[in-house]
């Protein structure tokens, strides 16, 4: 019994280690000496999509272009840019597509509100359907099932 628990715990630790392994692609020679700036650079690069391997952020990607962009981000931070200015620099060149979190603006309202609208329509239909079913329920007590439920009519 105890052995089983031990096995489970070891398995869990192993999974955890796997998860931690898939972290980032930032190489030591890219990193800034100032830990605060480096932290900001990491934060920004995790929000930006790599345009070569599109489902990775430039923080995770080993593509040369991602590395170039990481270096540019750090250069601009050192030059005194705010986080927002750095992001704008990249968006000006590659478009909103590089933002892993889409901006909240006119052409993305469908994206942001779509799920809510679909949920409301679906919820409305379910509500409508069950209200009809529930209305029919009291009839059960009158024990006359023959009246309803004629299948295939």
């Amino acid at each position: 019994m105890n052995r089983k628990i031990l096995k489970l715990m070891l398995g869990g630790l192993f999974m955890l280690a796997l998860g931690l392994g898939a972290a980032w692609a930032v190489e030591p020679d890219e990193q800034l000496d100032d830990p605060a700036l480096e932290e900001r650079a990491r934060d920004i690069s995790q929000q930006l999509r790599c345009v070569v391997c599109q489902n990775q952020s430039i923080d995770e990607s080993t593509a040369p272009l991602a590395r170039d962009l990481r270096l540019i981000i750090r250069e601009r931070l050192v030059a005194g840019d705010s986080n927002k200015e750095v992001v704008t620099f990249v968006v000006d060149r590659y478009g909103d597509f590089v933002l892993l979190r889409p901006p909240f603006q006119g052409d993305t309202y469908v994206l942001w509100f779509g799920p809510l609208i679909i949920f409301l329509i679906g919820g409305g239909l379910i509500f409508y359907y069950f209200r009809k079913v529930l209305k029919a329920v009291p009839d059960q007590d009158s024990s006359s099932p023959a009246k309803k439920g004629k299948r295939g009519s």
Binding site: V52, P64, L65, D68, I72, R93, G95, F97
Partner: protein, 176 residues
């Protein structure tokens, strides 16, 4: 109501199928450029080895031209190379080359071996100008109008079809 209950799910399903059929077959690498209709980025690149003159954004003014991003390391650049040579030979439109992230001398050696289709070439060794152009991979070709604005971006090698059906018509249109 009963009929609606039958047809509505089918209609929704058909809608989803059409939406996905279109959406999932789009090539996600064909990103629209945010730079369309904007002036080409300012740059001043040195020449590649063995050439006198580099390439700067000033050179793009005055005439419709193509800016082609390439590199000796770029596998698909050789695919479009014969067409670029043909354009050069027939003097159809000037092509300006940006040699993207090539080790010193390799771009020049490649042109010597394959032929040089470019009017002017700039050496973008650290890739910064390519990033200013929003380049995602070579080859990429930009069509620049007389005022030096980017009017079209083509990603990937220029095939005869692409030249005849897309790029040449745009060039002609811009010349009017």
């Amino acid at each position: 109501m009963k009929r609606l209950g039958f047809y509505l799910p089918i209609a929704i399903f058909a809608g989803v199928v059409i939406y996905l059929a279109v959406g999932l077959t789009l090539d996600p690498h064909k990103l629209p450029s945010t730079l369309i209709d904007k002036p080409a980025p300012e740059f001043d690149l040195p020449p590649i080895e063995g050439f006198e003159q580099g390439l700067s954004s000033q050179d793009l003014n005055g005439e419709v031209s193509l800016v082609n991003i390439w590199g000796s390391w770029c596998v698909s650049c050789i695919i479009e190379h014969p067409i670029l040579m043909e354009i050069k030979k027939n003097n159809i439109v000037p092509i300006y080359g940006i040699d993207w992230k090539d080790p010193p001398g390799e771009g020049a050696a490649w042109l010597k071996k394959e032929g040089n289709p470019y009017t002017l070439i700039g050496d973008d060794a650290d890739g910064r100008v390519a990033i200013d152009f929003g380049v995602t991979g070579a080859p990429e070709t930009f069509i620049i109008d007389k005022e030096g604005r980017i009017r079209y971006k083509y990603i990937g090698p220029i095939t005869p079809e692409v030249w005849n059906e897309i790029i040449f018509p745009v060039v002609e249109e811009l010349r009017k």
